[in-house]
């Protein structure tokens, strides 16, 4: 029996392994949600890109907290109709956005000059109406935009987003680079994870800080040279298949009646929010 169980801090290798695994897990999870049978999943990717982007802009332009909160309500309704549970959004989006932005917005409640509405009992810090409003603006706007962005990510396959970008006028070379980057991110995630796992399996005891730093720099260096060789191999493979620098993509989008309706709905809601302030 162990005499004493001591909570051990994760070293940087373990932290990095967890971080890399989380990225891969989130991507897989988003892909599984994108295949669900919900409202947004059925829509044309171009409609979603334009529609959700215009709602994000509407939330950014608004000068009334009620309007921003109404847009947030709309995002929740869209999530429910797309079979994305608020628990999922809460865990993956809202909580982290709230903790991050909340920590940033908190001091604003006290230091923004304006009309004092309350004083903290012991510290005598004054809470101003303007400070409270500015914190509410920031948090509600961040949560609303993050939810709309998450709806796009969770309901659209990356290949569809790319095609939508292409048909919306993004230069084809960028679209191809984005597609290939996405592909190689997953390959490199795996490579990096394997590198760290193999190193971790050889670590006994605590790694000294200096050694950790050397290891981190060496890992980046190894990944860098692997990237270089990989890009050469990819280039040769592309050339052997007849690549001459020209890129062609198949655009197989077909706008249906529900897509036009959804687009009209998104845009009119965004314009309404803008008109109402």
């Amino acid at each position: 029996m162990p005499e004493k169980t001591r909570r051990r801090h994760k070293n940087f290798i373990e932290k990095t392994i967890v971080g890399l695994a989380e990225v891969a897990e989130q991507a897989l999870y988003a892909e599984s949600l994108a295949k669900a049978d919900g409202l947004l999943q059925k829509l044309d990717a171009r409609v979603k890109v334009i529609g959700l982007f215009s709602l994000i802009v509407a939330a950014a332009l608004s000068k009334k907290i009620t309007i921003i909160l109404s847009l947030f309500g709309l995002a929740i309704v869209l999530a429910l109709l797309s079979k994305i549970s608020p628990v999922v959004l809460g865990k993956r989006i809202w909580l982290s956005a709230f903790l991050f932005t909340g920590a940033i917005a908190l001091p604003a409640i006290f230091i923004t000059p304006g009309e004092v509405i309350y004083r903290l009992p012991v510290l005598h810090w004054a809470i101003t109406a303007q400070g409270l409003r500015s914190a509410l603006y920031l948090i509600s706007r961040v949560e609303t935009s993050a939810t709309f962005a998450a709806l796009l990510v969770f309901t659209t396959l990356w290949t569809q987003v790319l095609k939508a970008l292409r048909t919306l006028g993004v230069p084809v070379v960028f679209v191809v680079i984005l597609g290939m980057t996405h592909r190689y991110i997953f390959l490199m995630l795996q490579t990096a994870r394997e590198m760290f796992e193999s190193r971790q399996s050889r670590v006994a005891g605590t790694l000294p800080a200096k050694e950790s730093r050397r290891l981190a720099a060496a890992s980046v260096g190894v990944l860098l040279s692997k990237s270089f060789y990989l890009s050469n191999e990819v280039y040769q493979a592309m050339q052997s298949r007849g690549f001459r620098g020209e890129v062609y993509l198949l655009d197989e989008f077909q706008m249906q009646k529900r897509d036009w309706l959804a687009l009209a709905g998104f845009l009119s809601l965004a314009i309404l929010a803008f008109v109402l302030g």
């Binding site: 603006y137 980057t181 720099a217 060496a218 990237s227 050339q239």
Partner: protein, 359 residues
């Protein structure tokens, strides 16, 4: 440092998209000409690489960990234009696919992290490395400095973007609509963390990667330094920090002394202006500095005649806008950073000495 949606007003976002656009255009043209058909695979793989290293946890002095942006590493290996594109693509995938960094703020994030950091990192690295051999410790120092300055410049620009929000965007009651803090709060709040921790994370990783590449794959460093040679007489560098310690010491002393020099009273001997001869106070200073030799009653005729011939754009090093608080902040920051580097050196030497004595 990725700015989420909601922190910047739409007009600031639009302005920063517009500011980033010409850089993207020029970068694409330059890189296309250089790489032609290699462009697509090379940029894709390097963008993926930049994405992955933003995920790395880096061990920092004091037991904490931090993240690096990798902009300086990309700029040192690919050059500034390639780095601008690779980091921009990585940021777009982070924003669109992982919801990290806003969509409306994408232009701002690219401007701060991809563009400003890549350009300054490339410039500083080239300037500090000069024509030194590829495997010299000076290049490791140059890389660390490029990493440190690039992330701090990004942070400063981000803080300025945040700080101007409450000046321009308020609601009817006077409450700030976006980022709520003024420049006086946003700049120190952002810079303290970057000057101390994040800056060092970027410096350590950038210097460490260059030291590693020098040992194993110097050809990757040759892409941005085609004329540099490999000097086989130089010793193999084992650790980025130790090999460059004397260079860091020099930098620290320079940073501490520069603000002191600028704040020193009086004028340099011989650098008198025509008006100094008529002012009784400066006349006394000239006399004291010249072994009690009194200055002539009138300024030399030639000096008086020629002094109006050319007026320097920045007279006496400090025009009115520089004789203000911001300059004070910058000088204090330089002084502070110098002290921090010096303190880190002393601590590293002391801990090493202790390890040796323990052993």
């Amino acid at each position: 440092m990725h700015i989420p949606d909601g922190y910047l007003s739409p007009s600031t976002c639009a302005a920063l998209y517009a500011a980033a656009a010409p850089f993207w255009y020029v970068a694409l043209q330059k890189v296309k000409r250089l790489l032609s058909t290699r462009l697509v695979p090379l940029l894709s793989v390097f963008a993926a690489f930049s994405f992955i290293i933003m995920m790395f946890n880096l061990p920092l002095p004091g037991g904490t960990t931090g993240h690096a942006t990798g902009a300086a590493i990309a700029a040192i290996v690919l050059g500034s234009w390639g780095s601008i594109l690779a980091i921009s693509v990585a940021l777009l995938i982070q924003a669109l696919f992982f919801g990290d960094g806003g969509i409306t703020a994408f232009g701002a994030n690219c401007f701060n992290i991809a563009i400003a950091a890549s350009l300054i990192a490339h410039f500083v690295y080239r300037l500090a490395a000069g024509s030194s051999p590829l495997n010299s410790s000076r290049r490791i120092f140059a890389a660390g400095l490029a990493g440190y300055l690039s992330i701090n410049l990004s942070a400063l620009i981000t803080a300025i973007e945040f700080g101007i929000q409450p000046i321009f965007f308020k609601d009817a009651t006077g409450a700030p609509l976006y980022a709520p803090y003024s420049l006086a709060v946003a700049i120190p709040a952002m810079m303290i963390g970057h000057i101390t921790f994040a800056g060092f994370a970027e410096a350590i990783i950038t210097a460490g990667v260059v030291a590693y590449l020098q040992r194993t794959e110097p050809s990757l460093l040759k892409m941005t330094a085609p004329d540099a040679v490999i000097d086989s007489s130089l010793p193999v560098t084992q650790s980025g920090w130790q090999a460059t310690r004397s260079l860091w010491l020099g930098l620290a002393l320079l940073m501490i002394l520069t603000p002191l020099g600028l704040l020193a009273a009086g004028t340099a001997w011989g650098e008198w202006g025509a008006e100094d001869f008529t002012n009784p106070e400066t006349r006394q200073q000239i006399e004291q500095a010249s072994s009690n030799q009194a200055a002539p009653e009138n300024p030399p005729a030639g000096l008086e005649r020629l002094s109006t011939f050319w007026t320097a754009p920045i007279p006496d090093y400090a025009p009115s806008f520089l004789k203000s608080e911001p300059l004070g902040y910058i000088l204090s920051a330089m002084f502070g950073v110098g002290l921090i580097i010096l303190a880190s050196l002393v601590i590293s030497i002391l801990t090493r000495a202790k390890r040796v004595s323990d052993a």
